[in-house]
């Protein structure tokens, strides 16, 4: 048997199939690794969000979103809330302060999405039922007009589908909606906007 004949005899069908399987597996692993390497991380990805400082409560968040009800919901900065008995995010403007009850005609929210719970005199706590909230911003308008502004709108990312071209952003008259890093997906009213901030001691010389 010549040398050429012995080499051909070594390449068996079984060996060839095994070699092809190993090659395919290696290619698959390489493809997965390449895809993972090119996949944007949470720090790179971006999502849509509303800047509360720019929002003018125009109401279009409720109507422009591709989702119905909208992915925009009212959220509450409890640290800023006055826990008012006469809450202007909850009650219609002009309601008789001496006859405060939770009857529908006195409430501002068109979908009964705000829960009002008595805490102790004179405090009431207000929470948002997001399953009912449509993002109309009426409560935000009322709270900001007469109260501390603790209610504000945010795009909730448990339901936002993150469209390439956000329909609400396209219609927002104040440019309040923009992409933000997915790692910090919310723009909250922070402690600096707390109406009763803690004062830091200053250095004194008199």
């Amino acid at each position: 048997m010549s040398a050429e004949e012995s080499v051909n005899a070594a390449i068996t069908r079984r060996g060839l199939l095994a070699w092809l399987a190993r090659g395919a597996a290696a290619a698959g692993v390489a493809a997965l690794a390449a895809r993972a390497a090119h996949r944007p991380s949470a720090a790179d990805r971006q999502v849509w969000q509303i800047d509360p400082a720019k929002c003018t409560q125009c109401g279009r968040c409720a109507t422009a979103c591709v989702l119905q009800p909208s992915a925009v919901k009212c959220v509450h900065a409890f640290a800023m809330c006055g826990y008012c008995k006469l809450c202007f995010g909850f009650f219609q403007s002009g309601v008789d302060a001496a006859r405060l009850d939770e009857s529908a005609e006195k409430q501002l929210c068109p979908t009964d999405a705000i829960r009002r719970v008595f805490i102790e005199p004179p405090y009431f706590e207000y929470t948002i039922d997001e399953s009912r909230c449509i993002g109309c911003s009426l409560c935000v308008k009322g709270c900001g007009s007469f109260g501390n502004g603790s209610l504000f709108l945010q795009i909730r990312h448990d339901r936002c589908v993150n469209c390439n071209d956000c329909r609400i952003a396209a219609q927002c008259p104040s440019g309040a909606i923009a992409r933000v890093p997915a790692a910090t997906p919310y723009i909250l009213k922070d402690a600096e906007r707390n109406p009763v901030p803690a004062n830091r001691p200053a250095k004194w010389s008199v």
Binding site: C81, G147, N148, V196
Partner: protein, 327 residues
């Protein structure tokens, strides 16, 4: 030639399409209108004062003002207090380094006290620097109101929801409500407004802004009487924290300054609404403005970098007459 007519028709159709109005975005009023019930509108007949002038304030940013017993006006802002004469001309200046002024008060002897966030400065009364800085009231302190009687200084601390009582030397005499007091006696200060006004005999009025209430206390802290006007109508105190500022006027009346519905009004000593000094239309922005009443009966409103003067008298020249209230 046979293509000319169709081409013209096509061009006309395209031009018509181009000229058609696009889908206009919905106006706010068409979506979810917010109706404020006209609470910012004030009938002209309810306005009892007219603006007669204004003074530029020589401190930055202006924060508070007080009228001295001799008629001069102290205005505090930044790390300075400027003292103006009755015509608004700057006469003296007191400066310091440290926290910015948040309140100022004048004692019956003319001595000035300045609140600077977490502590009080004894500013004396002479130009130059303050005499002393008192101890800090704590990291959470936020002095939003200050008043001085003949012997005491009352400090409205919105951060800790307390009224502190000091003597003129800075010795702490007590606090209101006292430790262990029932929660019903607590002050409600959701935002940093907590005005106080003292009478020479040591009694004092203090706002309880979260309850839309004014309370009158004896020097030892006993509650003597109070009035409350929560509501949104013109005669009430609106919003979650009002009055933001107030001043005592002749006959036991109050000049109140509200925030959110920015307006300055006069209430009688029982809280009954009397008239409007300055309606919301007189102000840009909805923040409350510090107010004071000078010896001539003028209402001084610290509005931005100016002190605006309002004197009794309607725009038509008539002056509202009112019977003197029982003291």
């Amino acid at each position: 030639m046979r293509y000319v007519l169709p081409a013209l028709l096509l061009a006309a159709a395209l031009a018509a399409l181009a000229l058609l109005p696009g889908r206009a975005p919905r106006r706010e009023s068409e979506v979810f209108p917010y109706r404020d019930g006209g609470v910012r509108e004030v009938p002209a007949a309810k306005i009892s004062h007219r603006e007669t002038g204004s003074w530029r304030v020589p401190v930055e940013p202006p924060a508070f003002l007080a009228v001295l017993p001799d008629g001069r006006v102290a205005v505090a802002g930044g790390c300075a207090v400027a003292i103006l004469d009755a015509n608004g001309v700057a006469q003296a200046r007191i400066t310091w380094q440290g926290g910015a002024a948040t309140a100022v008060a004048a004692a019956p002897d003319g001595r000035l006290f300045v609140g600077t966030g977490d502590r009080v400065l004894d500013a004396g009364g002479a130009p130059g620097q303050p005499v002393a800085a008192w101890e800090s009231l704590g990291e959470q302190a936020r002095i939003a109101g200050l008043a001085a009687s003949s012997n005491e200084v009352w400090v409205g601390d919105a951060g800790q929801r307390l009224v502190w009582r000091f003597d003129h030397g800075g010795r702490l005499l007590g606090r209101l409500p006292p430790p262990g007091a029932p929660r019903e006696e607590a002050f409600v200060t959701p935002s940093p407004v907590f005005p106080v006004a003292a009478l020479p005999d040591g009694t004092f009025w203090v706002a309880n802004p979260g309850r839309n209430r004014l309370q009158f206390h004896a020097a030892d802290g006993r509650l003597l009487r109070a009035w409350s006007r929560p509501g949104m109508d013109l005669g009430s105190l609106s919003g979650c924290c009002n009055p933001a500022y107030f001043a005592l006027a002749a006959g036991g009346a109050f000049v109140t300054s509200e925030q959110r519905i920015a307006r300055v009004k006069i209430h009688g000593q029982d809280g009954a609404f009397r008239s409007v000094v300055a309606p919301p239309a007189a102000f840009a922005g909805d923040e409350g403005r510090p107010v004071a009443v000078d010896r001539a009966g003028r209402v001084l409103v610290l509005d931005g970098s100016r002190i605006r003067l309002f004197e009794p008298g309607r725009k038509d020249g008539r002056t509202e007459e009112r019977k003197a209230e029982r003291p």
